[in-house]
C-alpha cells in the first residue's frame, strides 16, 4: 500500500492544524501518497452519537468509511479517538448482521453503501508497518541523539485490541511509539505511568479538576523518573491535554517544570528538516528552545 485516505477528525484540523501540515510533509517524502477524504465528518466522537444510539453511531462512522471505499484506499487517522470509534464501528458492522442491515438502511437514506473494503489504521501504524523504521532513519536530516523522550501512546490506539487491525504484542506495555522515537536517535525510557490515561476527552469536559489530576500524576511520573527533554504522543487529544494542562498546573503552583510536547509526525518533520513555522507552530507550552536544539548544525545526521 503506497497511498492512504487521510481521515482528519476535528481536533487536528481545527485546533492543531500544524499536526495536519506535518502529515502532508512527511508521508509523501516517505513514499506514502496522502489521499483527501472530501466531506468526511466527525467520527462521531464518543460523547455524541455513541452515547445516544449505536445505530446512529454506526451510520455516521459507516458514512466516513464509505468515502475511503469509493477511492479504493484504506484509512489512516491521526486522532486516537477517531481510530477507536471507527475501528469499533467497522468491527461491529462486519460482525453483527442485524446492525449491518440497519446501517444499510440508514446509509440508503443518503445513497451510500458500506462495503467493508477499507481497513482502519492509525498514522503510527502506517509509519511503523508500511514505511518502516529503516526508511525513517534513512530520511533524517537531524538526529535526536542524547535527547530523552517520554512517550505517550494514549488509550484508543491500544484497547480493545480485538477490534484493531494492528496490535501491540502486549497492549499494557506498548512499544510501537517507543521504537518510532528511537528511530530518530532518541532515548525513550520506560516510566511507571506510561500506559495511564491523560484525563482528556469525556473526563476533561465532565470534571476539569479530576481530569487535571490524572495528567498531573503522569507529568510528575515522567519528570521524577526520567526527566525527559520532551513528551511525544501519537494522539491529538493527549497532545492538547499535555500541552494545555501544563500551563494551568503551573499557574496553580501544582508543578514547577515545563516539558515541551510534540505529536510524533511534528517531531519527525523537524528531524526531516521541515520548517517549524509550518509543522510545529502552535502550542501553549513553549517549544522554541527544543526546536532550535533539534534543528542545529551539531545534530546533522551524516
Amino acid at each position: 500500500m503506497n497511498k492512504c485516505g487521510m481521515y482528519l477528525g476535528c481536533n487536528i484540523p481545527f485546533r492543531a492544524p500544524d499536526i495536519e501540515q506535518s502529515f502532508y510533509k512527511v508521508f509523501p517524502a516517505l513514499g506514502i501518497e496522502v489521499v483527501d477524504m472530501e466531506g468526511a465528518t466527525c467520527c462521531p466522537a464518543w460523547g455524541t452519537a455513541p452515547s445516544f444510539d449505536i445505530d446512529t453511531w454506526l451510520a455516521v462512522s459507516g458514512r466516513n468509511i464509505t468515502i475511503a471505499e469509493q477511492k479504493n484506499v484504506d484509512i489512516m487517522t491521526g486522532c486516537n479517538s477517531c481510530f477507536g470509534v471507527l475501528s469499533e464501528a467497522r468491527h461491529m458492522i462486519n460482525h453483527d448482521p442485524e446492525r449491518k442491515k440497519t446501517v444499510d438502511k440508514n446509509l440508503g437514506l443518503i445513497n451510500r453503501k458500506f462495503q467493508g473494503t477499507s481497513e482502519i489504521y492509525h498514522v503510527s501504524h502506517i509509519l511503523y508497518k508500511n514505511v518502516g523504521i529503516e526508511k525513517i532513519k534513512e530520511n533524517l536530516t537531524y538526529s535526536l541523539k542524547n535527547l530523552k523522550i517520554a512517550v505517550q501512546p494514549g488509550c484508543h490506539i491500544l484497547w480493545p485490541s480485538e477490534v484493531m487491525a494492528v496490535k501491540e504484542k502486549n497492549s499494557f506495555f506498548p512499544t510501537i511509539l517507543k521504537e518510532l522515537c528511537q528511530a530518530l536517535g532518541a532515548d525513550a525510557p520506560h516510566y511507571s505511568k506510561l500506559n495511564a490515561c491523560c484525563g482528556m476527552g469525556a473526563m476533561r469536559s465532565t470534571d476539569q479538576i479530576r481530569s487535571l489530576g490524572l495528567v498531573k500524576d503522569k507529568l510528575i511520573s515522567m519528570q521524577e523518573e526520567i526527566a525527559p527533554d520532551m513528551i511525544v504522543t501519537t494522539c491529538s487529544s493527549c497532545y492538547l491535554q499535555f500541552d494545555g494542562a501544563q500551563k494551568i498546573l503551573k499557574e496553580k503552583g501544582e508543578i514547577d517544570f515545563e516539558i515541551p510536547v510534540f505529536y510524533y509526525t511534528q517531531l519527525l518533520a523537524l528531524c526531516m528538516g521541515f520548517d517549524p513555522k509550518e509543522v510545529a507552530a502552535i502550542s501553549e507550552t513553549p517549544r522554541d528552545a527544543i526546536i532550535e536544539k533539534i534543528q542545529s548544525g551539531q545534530r546533522l545526521a551524516n
Partner: protein, 171 residues
C-alpha cells in the same frame, strides 16, 4: 427513542433495557472488580464505576443512579474490556447506561455543544479561529472535510434527524 416508565420497571426489565442499549454482558458480571483496577474513572475519584454500577443495574436500581455523572466521564478507553475475565465488556455496559440516562435526558451538559456542532457542521469540535491558525501554518483556511461542504452537512443532518436522537429535541 422510547422513554422509560420508571414506576413500572422491575429488575428484569432494567437488565433487558441494558442489553437493548448495548450492554449485553451485564448478566456475565461476577463482581470481581478487575475492571475498576485499570479504570481512569475510578482512579480520578468519581463515585460510580465498576462493580457498583453493574450491581445497581443487575438489581434494578436504575432510578437511584440515573442522575450520576460518573458514566459521562468514561473515557471509552476499553482497558476494562481488555482484562475482564468474564468477557462482560464493561465499557459496553457503561455506555448502555449512558444511553439509558440520555433517553431520560439525564445528559451531561458538556454533551450539548458537540452534539449541536455535529448536526450543524458535521464536526463536534469547530472554531472559526481555526481559519487563522490554518493559514498561519500554510494550509487552506478550510479543510476538505464537511465543514466547507454543504452536501456532506446535509447527509449528516439526514442521518441524525431520522435517528432516535432526532426525537430528543436536542438539534
Amino acid at each position: 427513542m422510547g422513554v422509560l416508565n420508571l414506576t413500572k420497571l422491575d429488575k428484569n426489565e432494567i437488565i433487558k433495557k441494558v442489553i437493548e442499549y448495548g450492554g449485553k454482558g451485564i448478566t456475565k458480571c461476577i463482581q470481581c472488580n478487575a475492571c475498576a483496577s485499570v479504570c481512569p474513572v475510578a482512579k480520578a475519584g468519581f463515585p460510580l464505576y465498576g462493580r457498583l454500577l453493574y450491581r445497581k443495574l443487575q438489581t434494578g436500581h436504575f432510578e437511584e443512579i440515573i442522575e450520576d455523572s460518573s458514566s459521562w466521564a468514561c473515557q471509552a478507553c476499553n482497558r476494562c474490556t481488555e482484562i475482564c475475565p468474564q468477557d462482560a465488556k464493561p465499557f459496553e455496559i457503561v455506555f448502555a447506561f449512558r444511553r439509558m440516562q440520555a433517553s431520560e435526558l439525564a445528559i451531561s451538559t458538556s454533551a450539548f455543544t458537540p452534539l449541536m456542532n455535529l448536526h450543524a457542521t458535521g464536526h463536534s469540535v469547530y472554531s472559526e479561529a481555526s481559519k487563522e491558525l490554518r493559514v498561519r501554518v500554510g494550509l487552506k483556511a478550510v479543510p476538505v472535510t464537511s465543514i466547507g461542504d454543504e452536501a456532506a452537512q446535509q447527509e449528516i443532518r439526514t442521518l441524525l434527524d431520522n435517528s432516535p436522537m432526532g426525537e430528543l429535541g436536542i438539534f
